[in-house]
């Protein structure tokens, strides 16, 4: 459990998934991937095995959000596990419909 900060990077303990926090609510949130708590990207992964029920997979470049919309993660490396916050699965955020402006 930890207070998440925007810009923080986390990785899955049980698959290749890496994320960056885009937005986070006040208070502590436990982020899990494949059922296991995520760790800071620079920490050594405690290891373990992925929960076979939580192998929805993450896609690079996609955003994952909670129902309240105040937690948003960007997947920076894909993996097999499913993302969840405090046990509730995160869902894929719809892609922006912004026109290309550059």
């Amino acid at each position: 459990m930890a207070q998440l900060k925007a810009g923080a990077r986390l990785k899955s303990a049980v698959c290749e998934t890496q994320v960056m926090v885009i937005a986070a609510p006040e208070g502590e949130v436990e982020l899990t991937c494949g059922g296991a708590p995520m760790v800071d990207v620079s920490a050594s992964a405690p290891g373990g095995s992925i929960d076979p029920e939580l192998k929805g997979g993450t896609q690079i470049g996609k955003r994952y959000v909670n129902e309240e919309g105040d937690l948003e993660l960007l997947c920076t490396r894909p993996g097999e596990g499913s993302l969840a916050a405090d046990g509730t699965p995160l869902r894929l955020k719809e892609a922006k419909a912004l026109p290309s402006s550059d």
């Binding site: 810009g7 690079i60 470049g61 920076t76 490396r77 026109p99 290309s100 402006s101 550059d102």
Partner: protein, 506 residues
């Protein structure tokens, strides 16, 4: 947070896609990534504290941008049209620096203290090494300065706008969808490397997976030819470039390149007649107006393709007017209009545009942050928000003409002059006047083959605005002075017209 995270994601997912193409050179995303790594090692061993680039567009530009982020020093693209003295002053400010430039300049600058010089070719050769990319050891400190962009100062030394990694990364993540471009997409970039729009275009394209096609020296016909030949789908233009392309098409009775799907423009005010003609000449193209500043990591508000079409097709004057607007703020960006005392103004009232958001820096090297309480950045642009939240940008507040104690906006008068069928371009400035303090003066460029007189245009303005807005002095010119980033050199127009008025404004 670091720009390299964006490139690494792109290179690991779609590494074989071409990232940048210039003349006969092509670099894939994977090659761009590896090349950035190789050159980053050279930067580190040079001890340079800045990576400067004094050159036209080439693949060395994106390589340098990413290599500097890898090495952890700021990227400083410089204006190649600077005089020797101006350049010397800037180089001294960034010393010790590694400078990438063309062969001719390299010869004159080599041996200077505090400067390591490489030619563009030397740089590209190091980048092209076949060895695999080095370890991914760049810093993820969001506060690191990604780039310094010198803004042309109207008085005193140029200020260096500071854009940190967090500003640029949040801008890209907030406005671009990862791999949002199909493999056939290509964006033509013809703005110079020292323009924030050029940097934003490279970053957006890399993250979206869109090929950047570089045109080192803008020319309307060269642009059209390149767009056709490379099946370009997207482009970014400053308004003067679009005006020249439209002129060329009309003069040559040419057709717009069939592959073009989207045109974004910004960096200056788009004259209404130009965008209207462009929409007719490019009927299949989606137009986007992108308003932004160097200090805000480029775009903060967009008027999208649907809004362009709605405005062009509407009978409602309020909707039609939006074609001249900058659109609505990007998600995550807030805009407020404030009076000179700093109070927020309601919709419909003119004031100074203020903006805040993660992509907004507002910091200058050595001068600290210009952000006000709450993180608001005063843009020095005047404008207003309409009832639906559309932003109208009227021009620099410093360009306001103060006539008899009344503040007049040049933009308002220019728009009216541009409505006249014989007017292709114009600039309205204040010139000294004994009676009024400042008087309204205008420099007008007539459309080819069209006739009009000063008297006719003065009457035109008088019919549409109050008599105080009528230019007292109106001169015709064959063209107006613009710089390479498409900015009107208003000060020069003012100086020329002021000379005509004579001393003491008599």
């Amino acid at each position: 947070m670091n720009l390299l995270m964006l490139l690494e994601m792109a290179a690991s997912t779609m590494g074989e896609r071409v990232a940048v193409q210039c003349e006969d050179q092509r670099w894939s995303l994977a090659e761009l990534f590896a090349g950035a790594g190789h050159t980053a090692q050279r930067i580190r061993s040079s001890g340079a504290r800045h990576l400067a680039l004094l050159d036209v567009s080439s693949p060395a530009v994106p390589l340098a941008l990413f290599a500097s982020s890898w090495a952890g020093i700021p990227f400083v693209p410089l204006n190649y049209r600077l005089t020797g003295r101006e350049l010397d002053a800037l180089l001294e400010r960034v010393s010790p620096a590694l400078l990438i430039t063309d062969a001719e300049r390299a010869a004159t600058l080599r041996g200077r203290e505090g400067l390591s010089v490489r030619t563009r070719e030397e740089w590209l050769e190091v980048a092209r090494q076949q060895a695999p990319a080095p370890a991914q050891d760049w810093s993820m400190d969001p506060e690191e300065i990604a780039t310094l962009l010198f803004t042309s100062g109207t008085s005193g030394a140029p200020k260096a706008a500071v854009l940190r990694q967090r500003h640029l990364v949040s801008y890209i993540l907030g406005s671009v969808e990862f791999m949002g471009a199909g493999p056939e997409e290509a964006v033509l970039v013809s703005v110079p490397p020292y323009h924030v729009a050029g940097i934003a275009a490279i970053l957006s394209a890399v993250y979206a997976g869109r090929r950047v096609v570089q045109l080192p020296a803008f020319d309307a016909r060269a642009w059209l030819e390149l767009a056709g030949r490379e099946a370009v789908t997207n482009a970014f233009l400053v308004p003067t470039m679009l005006a020249r392309i439209v002129d060329a098409l009309e003069q040559d009775s040419g057709a717009a390149p069939g592959s073009l799907r989207a045109l974004a423009y910004g960096g200056g005010k788009m004259p209404l007649p130009v965008i209207q003609r462009a929409m007719q000449l490019f009927p299949k193209v989606a137009f986007t107006n992108a308003y932004g500043l160097t200090e805000t990591s480029s775009t903060i508000a967009v008027l999208g393709p649907e809004e362009h079409r709605a405005a062009a097709e509407s009978r409602d004057p309020a909707v039609q007017r939006r074609l001249a607007s900058a659109g609505r703020p990007l998600p995550g960006v807030e805009v407020e209009i404030r009076d000179p005392e700093g109070r927020a103004l309601p919709a419909g009232e003119r004031g100074e545009i203020h903006v805040r958001g993660e992509q907004v820096s507002g910091e200058y090297l050595g001068r600290g942050s210009q952000l006000l309480e709450g993180g608001w950045f005063p843009t020095h642009d005047g404008g207003l928000l309409d009832a639906e939240g559309y932003l109208f940008v009227e021009g620099r507040i410093d360009d306001v003409i103060v006539r008899g104690g009344e503040n007049l906006s040049p933009g308002e008068i220019e728009d009216v002059l541009l409505d006249h069928p014989a007017v292709a371009d114009c600039a309205v400035v204040g010139v000294p006047d004994e009676q009024w303090g400042e008087a309204v003066a205008a420099a007008v460029v007539r459309r080819q083959g069209q006739q009009t007189s000063a008297g006719e245009l003065q009457a035109w303005v008088k019919e549409r605005l109050r008599s105080s807005r009528v230019p007292q002095l109106l001169r015709f010119r064959s063209e107006l002075p613009y710089n390479e980033t498409g900015k009107l050199l208003r000060r020069r127009v003012r100086e020329e017209l002021a000379r005509e008025v004579g001393p003491a404004g008599r």
